[in-house]
C-alpha cells in the first residue's frame, strides 16, 4: 500500500468519525448524515481499490481517470447544493408563516389585556 493511499484512508476515516460524532450529539439530522456517510464510503473504496477509478473511467469512455472523479464530484456537489436551496426556501416559508401567526396572536392577547 502506498503512502498516499494510507493518508487518503486516514483522512476519510477522520471525516466519517466527525460526521458520526455530529449525529451522536444530535446536531446533524440523519437524512443529511446519510449522504455524508455514503460519500465517505465511496472515498474509502477508491483509496483502497486504486484500479476502481480506471475501470470506471474505461467503462464510461473517459480518457483521463481523474477527470471522471472531478466531474462526478462536481455534479454531486451541485445536486446537493440545489437540495440545500430547496430546503432553505421551505424553511423560509415556514418561518414566515410562524412569524405571521405570532404577530396575529400577540395582537389578540394585547386586545384582551386592554379590555
Amino acid at each position: 500500500m502506498e503512502r498516499i493511499q494510507i493518508i487518503a484512508i486516514i483522512g476519510s476515516l477522520c471525516f466519517l468519525g466527525y460526521v458520526m460524532w455530529q449525529i451522536k450529539k444530535g446536531k446533524l439530522r440523519e437524512e443529511y448524515a446519510f449522504i455524508w456517510i455514503l460519500s465517505t464510503f465511496v472515498l474509502i473504496v477508491l483509496s483502497v481499490w486504486r484500479n476502481a477509478l480506471e475501470i470506471l473511467a474505461h467503462t464510461f469512455g473517459v480518457i483521463a481517470p481523474p477527470n471522471l472523479l472531478f466531474a462526478g464530484a462536481l455534479f454531486a456537489v451541485l445536486i446537493y447544493l440545489l437540495h440545500l436551496s430547496l430546503t432553505v426556501s421551505k424553511l423560509q416559508y415556514e418561518n414566515k408563516t410562524l412569524a405571521q401567526e405570532l404577530a396575529l396572536l400577540k395582537q389578540k392577547i394585547d386586545k384582551k389585556e386592554k379590555a
Binding site: N95, K96, A99, Q100, L102, A103, L104, Q107, D110
Partner: protein, 236 residues
C-alpha cells in the same frame, strides 16, 4: 337595508416613525358611516420607534418579530382582515404616498364593476405625483410584459394601492410573494380567474423613508419581477 361596509386598511410599515401617525389619522378622517375604515398597521420589525408609536395610536397593531419584507407584511394584514370578517381590505403605503380619501372611490368602482380587485393607478388621468422618468419606463415595460402574457392592460402594475374582496383575500392567504409582490400578484389574479381593473387616483411624494428600489436594486428588481411574472404564469 343599508349595512355598514367594513374595510381593513392595511398599512405595512418599516421604519416609518415620521409619517405613520398622520397616515393613520388620515384613514380615520376618510372613514364614514357607510364605509367604516379600520387601520391595520403591520410593523415589519422596524428598528426605529414605529412599534411604540402604533401602540399608542387608535389602530390594529400587528408587530412582526422578524423582518419579512413588504409581501410578508401585507400578507399578515390580509390574514388579519380575512380572519376578522372584513368585507374588503385595501393596502396603502406607510409613507403617505396613497391618500386614503380614494379608498371609498376604489370600493365603489370594485362593487359597480363586479371586480375582485381594484387597483389605484397614477397613470390613467396622469394627475398628482408621477414618479421619475426611469420608474415610468420600468412600469411601461411591465405594462407591455403583462399585456403580452395576460392580454390585460394595467397602466400602474407597481401600485401598492389595491382593494380586494374576500375571495381574493382567501387566495392570497395561501400564497403571496415576499419581495416586490405587486406585478406578480396581477398574474396570480389572472391565473385564478379573478376580475380586476384600475381606478384613477392621485398619489403624493413620500413624506419620509426611502424607496427600496434604486441603483443596483433597480436592475435586480426588473430581473426578479420578470422572472417571477413568467414563472407565476407557467405555474398551474
Amino acid at each position: 337595508m343599508n349595512q355598514t361596509i367594513r374595510v381593513a386598511v392595511i398599512i405595512p410599515a418599516y421604519n416609518e416613525e415620521a409619517s405613520i401617525a398622520s397616515v393613520v389619522s388620515a384613514v380615520h378622517a376618510a372613514s364614514s358611516d357607510s364605509i367604516q375604515l379600520t387601520p391595520v398597521v403591520v410593523n415589519d420589525c422596524s428598528k426605529d420607534s414605529t412599534k411604540e408609536i402604533i401602540g399608542s395610536l387608535n389602530c390594529v397593531a400587528l408587530n412582526l418579530p422578524i423582518n419579512l419584507g413588504i409581501g410578508g407584511a401585507v400578507q399578515t394584514g390580509i390574514k388579519y382582515a380575512f380572519d376578522n370578517g372584513f368585507d374588503f381590505c385595501v393596502q396603502i403605503d406607510g409613507d403617505g404616498q396613497h391618500p386614503p380619501q380614494f379608498i371609498p372611490v376604489l370600493e365603489k368602482e370594485l362593487v359597480a364593476n363586479n371586480w375582485d380587485v381594484a387597483i389605484g393607478s397614477r397613470y390613467i388621468e396622469k394627475e398628482g405625483f408621477q414618479s421619475t422618468f426611469m420608474r415610468r419606463t420600468g412600469i411601461q415595460y411591465f405594462q407591455f410584459l403583462l399585456k403580452l402574457i395576460t392580454s390585460e392592460n394595467v397602466t400602474d402594475s407597481t401600485s401598492g394601492m389595491r382593494m380586494m374582496n374576500r375571495k381574493t383575500m382567501k387566495l392570497l392567504y395561501a400564497y403571496y410573494p415576499d419581495e416586490y409582490p405587486e406585478p406578480e400578484a396581477l398574474i396570480i389574479y389572472n391565473r385564478n380567474g379573478l376580475k380586476f381593473g384600475e381606478v384613477p387616483v392621485q398619489m403624493n411624494e413620500r413624506m419620509g423613508g426611502q424607496s427600496s428600489i434604486q441603483g443596483f436594486g433597480a436592475v435586480y428588481y426588473m430581473f426578479k419581477v420578470t422572472i417571477a411574472i413568467i414563472f407565476t404564469y407557467l405555474r398551474q
